[in-house]
């Protein structure tokens, strides 16, 4: 799996996510949900993000992908929300709609929260889950 990219770790959109989201958890589940906050957008206000298909109509959304379905960790171990509080009520594994368009510019970035739990209790490292944008493109406004 390639390294993380395209997300920003700060609201000012100056720091691009370049590392994996490290979710260290104890095997008995006692660690609880590991939470991450990221930002989606582009600092260039002349650009926007829309879906490739039906741009401006279809939702730009985040999805949880599992490269090894039915094996190891499952997509349902991840919840997505627009706020930290929203994680508690988010549907495990469900996609998160971000709107039909995300305009560029710092003020237009969308804050997203990713919550990770462990349902396996299996000791070891796993990189099978990713959080991705659906099929979108970055283009000029």
């Amino acid at each position: 799996m390639s390294a993380s990219q395209g997300f920003y770790t700060d609201a000012a959109l100056t720091s691009v996510l370049s590392a994996n989201l490290q979710a260290e958890q104890q095997s008995d589940g006692s660690s609880g949900m590991q939470k991450f906050r990221l930002y989606i957008g582009n600092p260039d206000s002349g650009l926007k993000i829309e879906t490739t298909t039906n741009p401006g109509v279809d939702q730009v959304s985040l999805t949880v992908e599992d490269v090894l379905p039915a094996s190891g960790h499952e997509a349902t171990e991840v919840v997505l929300a627009l706020s930290e509080l929203g994680l508690a009520s988010a549907t495990p594994g469900a996609a998160l709609d971000l709107g039909t368009v995300i305009n560029g510019g710092v003020g237009n970035a969308v804050e997203v929260w990713i919550g990770v739990t462990d349902a396996t209790g299996t000791i070891g490292q796993d990189l099978s889950l990713t959080v991705e944008l659906n099929d979108c493109e970055l283009k000029a406004i």
Binding site: M1, S2, A3, S4, Q5, G6, F7, D10, A11, L17, N20, L21, Q22, A23, E24, Q25, Q26, S27, D28, G29, S30, S31, G32, Q34, K35, F36, R37, L38, I40, I49, T52, E65, H73, V78, S83, E84, L85, A88, I114, V116, D118, T120, G121, T122, I123, Q125, D126, L127, L129, T130, V131, E132, L133, N134, D135, C136, E137, L138, K139, A140
Partner: protein, 617 residues
């Protein structure tokens, strides 16, 4: 126009790296309340609780506020509690332990994260400041002297002053109770940590700064007070002859009022009443044989009808009275207290300091009052002119009779500035210096990290045994860290290790005040004195002497009574002034001048030696 388009899913991908690690049997959690409301679900990140000897315990945590506007200041002062929960792997609560009780002192909002960082304190200083001095005394004990500390100090400073005389720390426990714990490490540790307990952090051993050590203190304490003294003397005068000898050599008997006036004008205080010896009653008395063998019969104070002279009552043939004098002598006692820690000096050399204090119990007002009071005591002494018990009854309680007969009242008994206060000042200074020594020598520290243990608090004695370090000491500081994100819960502990630098112990001195030095040179004097009778008017009479004290008069001349009077009064015979003279003895310089005396003593302090062994691997 070339429009560059970047298409997803490569547009944004975040890889989740799940690292599942072996979990302990039990889980933990926190319960945090803010203003009485459970806000645990909103707490995120690291929760820290830092406790330290004689300081407020501080707690910090981050909270995600509910959506909507909030007022940071509204949180200031709100009550905060933090409980640690031990849970079964199922999540069921096993037990909980209160870790902090305090209030918010500063909330800080981070707009970037949306979190509010709360800094909280159990406010030790404010808790103490709200106490009365009696309550502080009950909690801290120790000693306090207005001659060592500021009597107008705030409650907090007062507590610090008392604490400076006790080798102990003041703290507030997790439940909010103010507690005092001795510095001394217990002989048996409460908890022993081994290599297996110690978390993956190095053990840090730091030594006390030698420049801050102190092992000798030279204290000078001056105690100045008034010594109130009284001296008295019983004065007697009596006509030395019989009625016949008087009738044969008559002279004017003294008037009682004459003697009274002389006594009162002596310069000393007439203490009580004058006791007069009445003259002989009127009578016919046989005074032996005359020149030719005839009966010498004489009449005394009877008229022709045998009636006694009514003026006899104003005369006397003797008098006795007590004269008293009070004065004030200023005494300065200087106490030199040297406090030493011999074992530390053996290892570190002498590192000392000097300090001087004074207790002044002398008072001009008191001195004047003492001297003036005597004039008001006549009534009390009435009829007890020569009675020691009568004299003592006129003096303040505590007045003692000295071996030379003087009476002494040491005006040093006042509660605030008297001898007792001076002695308490000595005890306070001795205790304070001892605490300074102990404090300076327990600044060696061993720091390490262990998994969280609910029984850890400032009162505990810990022992660490590893391959390289063995140490035992009382917990000086404990920082609890609860990382909600990582699940890590640990304590960063710092042990205070007392070391003198040398081996062995010394016998510690009892810190009792030095006894008062002898400072009262006594002058002997006659406790009673008889005044003479000096009669002129005859050639056998000596020349008049101004130093005579007593009754001074002249023989009567009666030309009809040749015998036993001179046939002719010799015109050259000295004639004395008719007077009754009462003189007084001098109170010497030794009794009056300011005196000083000094006393010195060395007090030994034993520095406890806590175990601290370091060895190479």
């Amino acid at each position: 126009v070339i429009e560059q388009r970047i298409k997803g899913p490569q547009l944004a991908v975040a890889v989740i790296e799940q690292q599942i690690i072996d979990a302990p049997t039990h889980r933990w959690g926190l319960v945090v309340t803010l203003g009485g409301t459970d806000v645990t679900d909103r707490i995120t990140g690291l929760v820290s609780i830092d406790a330290e000897e004689s300081a407020s315990t501080l707690a910090t945590f981050s909270l995600l506020p509910e959506s909507g506007p909030f007022d940071l200041l509204a949180w200031v002062g709100q009550a905060v509690t933090i409980d640690y929960l031990s849970k079964e792997s199922s999540g069921a609560e096993r037990w909980r332990s209160r870790r902090f009780t305090g209030e918010v002192i500063e909330p800080v909002h981070d707009p970037d994260t949306g979190l509010v960082r709360f800094s909280c304190s159990n406010k030790l200083q404010r808790r103490i400041a709200a106490m009365s001095r009696e309550e502080i005394d009950a909690v801290i004990g120790g000693r306090w002297s207005a001659h060592v500390f500021d009597k107008d100090a705030s409650a907090w400073q007062y507590a610090q002053d008392r604490l400076s005389t006790r080798p102990a720390c003041l703290w507030i426990d997790a439940s909010g109770v103010v507690r005092l714990t001795d510095w001394a490490a217990k002989a048996t540790p409460d908890i022993t940590h081994t290599e297996a307990d110690r978390m993956a952090s190095r053990v840090q051993v730091s030594r006390a700064n030698k420049d801050r050590l102190k092992n000798q203190s030279d204290i000078t304490l001056d105690f100045r007070f008034n010594r109130l003294k009284q001296r008295q003397q019983v004065i007697t005068w009596r006509y030395p002859g019989s009625l016949c000898s008087f009738l044969k050599n008559p002279f004017p008997l003294p008037q009682r009022g004459q003697i009274q006036a002389a006594a009162e004008g002596s310069g000393w205080h007439l203490h009580g009443a004058v006791a007069f010896t009445p003259v002989w009653p009127g009578q016919v008395v046989n005074c032996g044989s005359g020149t030719y063998g005839e009966m010498d019969t004489r009449i005394w104070a009877l008229d022709a009808l045998g009636v006694e002279d009514p003026d006899l009552g104003g005369l006397c043939i003797g008098a006795s009275f007590t004269l008293a004098r009070r004065w004030v002598q200023t005494v300065t006692e200087t106490y030199a207290l040297q406090v030493v820690a011999p074992k530390s000096q053996e290892a570190n050399g002498v590192i000392g300091a000097e300090a001087a204090y004074g207790v002044d119990a002398s008072s001009d007002e008191q001195a004047v009052s003492w001297e003036q009071e005597l004039s008001g005591l006549s009534a009390a002494g009435e009829g007890n002119t020569a009675s020691a018990a009568g004299l003592a009854a006129t003096m303040p309680a505590g007045t003692v009779e000295l071996s030379n007969g003087d009476w002494l009242y040491e005006a040093s008994e006042a509660e605030s500035d008297g001898r007792a206060a001076m002695q308490e000042a000595q005890r306070t200074l001795l205790d304070r210096v001892r605490v300074e020594f102990l404090d300076a020598h327990r600044r060696n520290a061993v720091r390490y990290r262990v998994p969280f243990a609910a029984e850890l608090d400032i009162s505990k004695t810990l022992r660490l045994v590893t391959a390289s370090v063995t140490a035992q000491g009382k917990l000086r500081a404990c920082g609890e860290r609860f990382d909600i994100g990582s699940g890590d819960a640990h304590c960063e502990v710092a042990l205070a290790i007392s070391r003198s630098g040398a081996t062995g112990q010394v016998s510690e001195s009892t810190r009792d005040p030095i006894g008062a030095p002898a400072s009262d040179p006594l002058t002997s004097y006659a406790h009673s004195r008889s005044l003479g009778t000096y009669l002129g008017g005859r050639i056998t009479s000596p020349d008049y002497d101004e130093t005579w004290a007593g009754y001074v008069s002249n023989y009567e001349w009666d030309p009809d009574n040749v015998t036993p009077f001179d046939a002719n009064p010799d015109q050259t015979a000295p004639v004395y002034p008719d007077q009754f003279v009462v003189d007084t003895i001098e109170i010497g310089e030794a009794d009056r001048q300011a005196i000083s005396a000094s006393a010195a003593q060395v007090f030994q302090v034993d520095i406890p030696i806590d175990e601290l062994t370091e060895s190479a691997a």
